[in-house]
Symmetry: C2
Subunit: 441 residues, 2 copies
């Protein structure tokens, strides 16, 4: 295409099949769509230049971090340009006294933590994938430690963002407190590249805990396990993970409903053990590291155990008081629909994933039906369709059901104002179909 | 006026002088402007009705909580309707298991905490004024405990908001994790009623600390005091307040640069004492409660000590590493300009207030010149013009200097989309004059 060579005049581009294929999908089960070209900018100014140029030509631009998302978030469904941030991966500043780091958007969070090793400080969001910080911000990723430290949105002080028309703006700043103008930072956090392309972030640093005590407790029922969650939060647990009996047996462990907690204060592990025993645990142990690694690898392991299958992952989160009801509902629905699903989640946040392998159209219908039932139930319990994976392609229609038509109209107004030609990650986040009655999902 | 009787047809209104006077000002030194009428809606639907009606007539509507703001935020500078939320003051739900409460916007935060007393839970933002939760959200208020718990923005899960045209929307939800659509909640937090009127909020509850240890340390210099701040944060202090020697003598205390910390873990007070002594404190004590009360009353006390004077309060926050430099700069500027100013702040956040009494135009110039110098220095150090008081009337032109012209253009775009006729709290937040070079302030 002629426009590709024009683009290549001011930014590195790749058109080879391998590179385009790699930027055509994420780890979800959504159909891959290859971009026409992958642009590899090396600076915010280059990102802005690509956008200004693409905006004039109304060419779709879909930002791409590391492709570890699970909701099709960076798939360029209308082709065009995949804007890869992978060459913008510098940690620009680490300022321990100010408790912040400044990173280019393509910096992997593990790389930032590697550079922080030994300093006593960390970027405190930990997720399964080897994601970029820009991608984590764009999707508002969370993971097991969010129960203590909050989702990614709680760790962003400021951003540099390239807008659709090529303007570069800065939002927020370098202070932990700021009450000066509208909060544009949080408008871009979680917007999945549909409102602008994050090029740089100022992120908070958090003290690394000096102590790490991991306790695993197995229970005969979900209710008993969940009844202990409040006490674990009272101990300021750094993670409160739930793995249901089916997922435990998938891991080759004893088939018990299991809670899995991490503590950062000396002695809290021992207190947790006593609480678990009082709460009816059948077994309590400290042998948690293997399980911890397995937990972080849940998605990859589910994929490996089901070669050739695609995965659908639910991401509902409910108010914590309704967590046991939600787990039991999902278990019953899996049984009733005769579906295989690995059930695990962040109990302290009420956030639960069911990972469902499926093959072909025939199985898709059943799996999707389960997903809709899960979202319906979550909304009925006061919860959300997406706790931490974002909306991407697979959860778009739930946005209106969850927030209502008027709120979605405001979201559309913001999108239209910032991206009037609709070039930024088209086909994501905002719903095509407005379903405000959950029963019609 | 004829329109007032029309308005009175569907919402309670007050037109008496005392009520209009009370809704014409806040505790700042900004000129009071009386509204033509004070509307007292009793439900979100009534708020929405007032807005829809006023929008058709292009009548200004300025939301009013408790008038405790210090930046003129709720002053109806163009007259019209003061929309008082004081009759919408119900705590609708307290859900301890879900760690949340649902309150009408006019609920005082102290009333919510009164209802929570004995439950082991609190709304964890504490400020000097007896403010409404809606007002605290609208201004993104913070206060001494923000160093541990964050500003108000960190405590809001969801909102109900009446838009300028009378639509009612809900944002966010009841879960601590949510990654489903644009974050409209944080768009309204800190927008000071210029984008919509908050009618209801879902706020987080935080465990009440079982322990409270208060330690006061006096130093011979700012540098020595500030050098201890990092260690106090490492002890997870619940507050790290700084009061300079001039403010301490104003309080009738020994004229020493003083740090004032609160801890929620047994023994951390003792550790802090040892650290302070090692850091060169001239005196360390536990007699903090009186000082704590004095600290919270700083604004009122400054007013009482200067009858007839108005107050200007600076609200800069700088990265913590630059806090000592900022304090020393401000002390030198006060001396150089021969101004009286009480200097106190939230050292753990780098947030510093100078309260400056002034009388008449003659003194205003000097006081305003100091304010501009403070903001210039703060921005130069990577800080903000407003850490926690919002923009209101007095800090508008700094918004562009701090965020840049392009970011302000985005803010204006959002304002125009949500309030095309400009009826909502006109004359606040967004600057009239664009000054992007701090030296031109």
């Amino acid at each position: 295409m002629n426009w590709v060579s024009e683009l290549a005049g001011f930014v590195s581009v790749e058109t080879g099949e391998a590179v385009r294929a790699r930027h055509g999908g994420d780890v979800s089960g959504h159909d891959a769509v290859w971009p026409d070209v992958v642009a590899m900018p090396e600076s915010a100014v280059q990102v802005a230049a690509v956008l200004a140029w693409a905006n004039e030509r109304e060419l779709p631009v879909t930002p791409w971090g590391a492709g570890t998302s699970v909701e099709g978030n960076p798939i360029p469904v209308r082709g065009g340009i995949s804007l890869s941030l992978e060459r913008m991966n510098r940690v620009k500043e680490i300022r321990l006294e100010d408790r912040l780091a400044v990173v280019e958007a393509g910096t992997k969070y593990r790389e930032l933590n590697r550079q922080l090793a030994g300093s006593g400080w960390q970027f405190a969001v930990e997720i399964g994938g080897d994601a970029t910080i820009g991608g984590m911000i764009a999707n508002n990723a969370a993971g097991p430690k969010a129960v203590k430290y909050g989702s990614t949105k709680a760790h962003v002080l400021g951003l540099e963002v390239a807008l659709a028309d090529g303007r570069l703006i800065r939002t927020g700043g370098r202070t932990w407190k700021q009450s000066c103008g509208y909060n544009l930072t949080q408008l871009f956090v979680g917007s999945e590249g549909t409102l602008g392309v994050i090029t740089e972030a100022i992120v908070k640093l958090t003290p690394t805990p000096a102590v790490r005590e991991v306790v695993v407790a197995r229970f005969a029922s979900v209710r008993e396990a969940v009844r202990c969650v409040g006490a674990m939060r009272a101990l300021d647990a750094g993670a409160i993970e739930f793995l249901d009996r089916s997922y435990m047996s998938f891991l080759g462990e004893e088939a018990a409903d299991t809670l899995f907690c991490e503590f950062h204060t000396e002695g809290h592990g021992r207190a947790a053990e006593a609480i678990f025993l009082a709460g009816g645990a059948t077994e309590v142990s400290r042998a948690g590291e293997t399980l911890w690694a397995a937990r972080l690898r849940a998605y990859t392991a589910s994929q490996e155990a089901n070669p050739g299958a695609r995965l659908l992952t639910t991401d509902t989160a409910v108010p914590v008081g309704a967590f046991a009801e939600m787990v039991e509902f999902l278990q019953a629905e899996l049984a009733r629909r005769e579906l295989t699903g690995y059930l695990l989640g962040h109990a302290g946040d009420g956030n639960l994933h069911v990972i469902l392998p499926w093959r072909g159209e025939g199985e898709w219908g059943a799996v999707e039906g389960f997903h809709r039932a899960a979202v319906r139930k979550s909304l009925e319990l006061g919860g959300t369709a997406s706790g931490e994976h974002g909306v991407g392609m697979g959860k778009r229609e739930f946005v209106a059901t969850e927030h209502g038509e008027e709120a979605v109209a405001v979201m559309r107004g913001i999108k239209a104002m910032l991206d009037p030609r609709g070039i930024l990650n088209p086909g994501k986040v905002l719903p095509e179909r407005i379903v405000t009655n959950a029963n019609e999902l």
